[in-house]
């Protein structure tokens, strides 16, 4: 199947795509990528060297870590997704976005939410649920802006000039719907003050709802929309059709159906009822199949174009992104098996797993898309192709250092916690002994994370130079058509 349906040249040239909104979301992606990753590096430093909060309450690990996770998930990844979705649905549906005002409310509203998160989380205004820390007034704003996005998204579909919906749009649609459902139900709460509320769920029910949300925020913000973007931008980048249409159907429906069940794997061996834990474990293991379906469909799209891996840094970014997706979606189900989870849970193994997904899959896919998109949006060539290749290597090596350090740290600490001596007593009864053992790994993680941040900064420089060097007429000229 071709990436885009056949359309006459006349029809294509008649469409006036809104690329200004795509450019805005790309700038926001770069800005908040730097912020989110910088906060991550500061946190890594704090674990290696505790005084790094400088004695300030606003910068303690407990308050800053939610800022890191929220910034990377909702600000960096969110803006990256919106840029890619808004660029690609216009081309795929051969129509301008539904409403320019909604597009701009979406953009500025989302950035305002991010800024309010950057203020409120260091202040300690939090709901205390992971990745759902933002307080209820901000949650309401998110719901409103998400509805604006949904109206703009479905509105664009409604006015489309192409009848059939390409596979990328299925994945986008699953994000728009599922994130709305997750966000609303996980944040149902009773306000006590403007800054504080209490969830309508208590105890283990609250835990289950939270991880139903938390796991599927991973599923439907960090996975399905990125797969959708892969289905658009990867074939574009290698100028090959998607490998298999039938595989995309099977893995799409299997993925979105199975993902929702997997949340309880975050609560294995907890007081959650056993039947629920078992369901979470079984569905997590089954998730390997549709996840690898997506990975294979992405990698096999490169059939016949593998030579470009040597020459085209964008293809390098895609191949590493999709490979890390495959690796993470193998590792995740393994960690969801009770026996493995008994070792990995509560340790840095989890942190390593998350980062192989976030840095390896989401981040590398973001860079692949941005490096492909920016020269086309500004009708120019990338300022420094050499810097793109250097970014690729520094980021890849950074991820490997990060992930290997966290595997080592997690397995080390997990084994020390459970070690029992010949007398039947704990071999390491002093918890601190298991912490101090991790310090070398924390140093390596800090180096890996700093390398990845350095690559991010190089991308910002390269993109800004590219935009500055673009022909002056590009801003005023008609936006590029798809091909």
């Amino acid at each position: 199947m071709s990436v885009e349906p056949q359309t006459t040249a006349a029809a294509m040239s008649a469409v006036d795509y809104d690329d200004a909104i795509v450019k805005k979301f790309i700038f926001a992606t770069l800005l908040f990528g730097v912020v989110g990753m910088l906060v991550g590096v500061i946190l890594a430093l704090q674990l290696a060297w505790w005084p790094a909060n400088l004695g300030l309450e606003w910068t303690t690990f407990g308050r800053l870590r939610p800022l890191h996770t929220n910034a990377v998930i909702f600000a960096f990844t969110g803006n990256f997704i919106f840029a890619g979705v808004y660029y690609s649905i216009q081309r795929l549906l051969k129509t301008r976005l539904f409403n320019d005002v909604l597009s701009n409310i979406h953009f500025w509203g989302w950035q305002l939410i991010i800024v309010s998160a950057a203020v409120s989380l260091p202040m300690g205004w939090t709901q205390g649920k992971e990745y759902a820390e933002l307080i209820w007034p901000i949650d309401l704003s998110i719901a409103v802006i998400w509805v604006v996005f949904a109206i703009n998204f479905f509105g664009t579909i409604a006015v489309r000039k192409v009848k059939h919906l390409y596979v990328a749009i299925w994945f986008y649609m699953s994000m728009v719907i599922t994130i709305a459902v997750l966000h609303i139900f996980n944040n149902l709460s009773m306000p006590a003050t403007i800054l504080r509320s209490y969830p309508i769920y208590a105890g283990m029910t609250d835990a289950l709802v939270q991880w139903w949300y938390g796991h599927n925020a991973v599923g439907f913000l960090l996975t399905t929309p990125i797969l959708g973007l892969m289905y658009y931008f990867l074939p574009k980048s290698v100028e090959r059709p998607v490998f298999s249409y039938r595989l995309s159907i099977i893995h799409f429906w299997a993925l979105i159906f199975l993902y929702i069940w997997a949340g309880p794997h975050h609560l294995l061996y907890s007081a959650l009822p056993d039947w629920s834990q078992t369901l979470g474990m079984i569905f997590s293991v089954m998730l390997i199949a549709p996840s690898w379906g997506g990975m294979l469909n992405g990698l096999l799209t490169l059939r016949g174009a593998w030579d470009r891996l040597r020459t085209d840094p964008i293809v390098k970014f895609w191949v590493v992104a999709v490979t890390f997706y495959g690796m993470s979606t193998f590792e995740g189900p393994m960690m969801a098996i009770r026996a493995v989870n008994s070792l990995s849970h509560y340790t840095d193994w989890t942190i390593g797993h998350v980062h192989s997904g976030a840095l390896g899959w989401v981040g590398m896919a973001a860079f692949a898309m941005i490096y492909w998109l920016v020269p086309r949006l500004w009708k120019t060539t990338i300022h420094s192709p050499a810097a793109v290749t250097l970014h690729f290597w520094i980021a890849t090596i950074g991820i490997v250092l990060y992930v290997v350090a966290m595997w080592s740290s997690g397995i080390t600490q997990g084994l020390m916690w459970r070690a029992i001596d010949d007398a039947g007593q704990l071999q390491y009864p002093i918890f601190m002994d298991t912490v101090l053992e991790l310090m070398p790994f924390y140093a390596i993680r800090l180096i890996g994370g700093t390398m990845y941040l350095t690559g991010m900064l190089m991308a910002c420089w390269n993109i800004l130079m590219t935009v500055r060097g673009a022909p002056a007429s590009a801003a005023a000229a008609r936006p590029a058509t798809a091909k």
Binding site: G55, G62, W125, E130, M173, A271, P273, R303, Y346, T347
Partner: protein
């Protein structure tokens, strides 16, 4: 499965039935993503399949509630879990494994996901009040090598009675059994419980007023696991 399956794409049922009909597609997606959540969450509200109940666990006192809000505010859950798993090493290190009924008044739940520091679900009454006072001021004074930062502002900021009452009112609306008298009398309850902690601290040479945030936090930490221990003892006959 091969790339030549593109030849008859146009006649594929998925293309004919779904890909041109966005509303039907959206409904199918909504159904697809709803099943798992409904099957897992709804039974949590039934006695047969829901969390195990535990008699004798009572709501947090006003001071403990204020302390819990501080625990949440400072993001303690980012480094400390409150869930002891049923493993030999965990029960040796921390104490009895965690039961569902113990969490019935926990909003939000604070199970945590990463033990950068130790689990706290059994920390109540493990150390004297003065230990926590010193630990929060200088973690390395009680735990050599600790990587936890000091929390000096907890000794300067104070909790607010009206604020605690607002929390109790919201929780009462959600069904937590606080009586109106509990809420109106929160001020006296806060005073009485903090006086006890101040007295305990005085015996170790520390001077507190009683309205500092750290006093509320100590009250909360000292409560963790305490009445579930009593409830389990009662249920299991000691």
């Amino acid at each position: 499965m091969s790339s030549n399956d593109h030849s008859n794409v146009k006649s594929h049922w998925h293309r004919r039935l779904l890909e041109g009909k966005s509303a039907i597609f959206a409904v199918a997606v909504t159904v697809g993503i709803s099943v798992g959540g409904l099957v897992e969450i709804i039974p949590m509200y039934t006695v047969a399949a829901g969390p195990e109940q535990l008699q004798g666990v009572t709501p947090y006192t006003p001071l403990e509630l204020a302390g819990r809000d501080i625990y949440v505010k400072e993001g303690c859950y980012n480094c400390h879990s409150q869930m002891v798993r049923p493993f030999r090493d965990e029960t040796l290190r921390y104490g009895a494994w965690s039961r569902a009924g113990e969490y019935q008044f926990d909003r939000p739940f604070q199970l945590g996901s990463r033990r950068i520091g130790p689990d706290l679900h059994r920390v109540g009454k493990k150390y004297p009040d003065g230990w926590h006072w010193e630990h929060m001021k200088d973690p390395r004074s009680t735990s050599p090598g600790s990587i936890m930062p000091p929390y000096p502002w907890l000794y300067e900021k104070t909790y607010d009675v009206a604020d605690v009452q607002a929390s109790m009112t919201a929780l009462q609306t959600l069904g937590v059994p606080y009586s109106d008298a509990d809420i109106s009398g929160a001020g006296q309850a806060l005073k009485a419980q903090s006086d006890t902690i101040v007295a305990n601290l005085a015996s170790t040479g520390a001077t507190a007023q009683g309205n500092e945030e750290v006093v509320a936090l100590i009250a909360y930490l000292q409560r963790l696991g305490v009445d579930s221990r009593a409830a389990l003892d009662a249920r299991d006959g000691g």
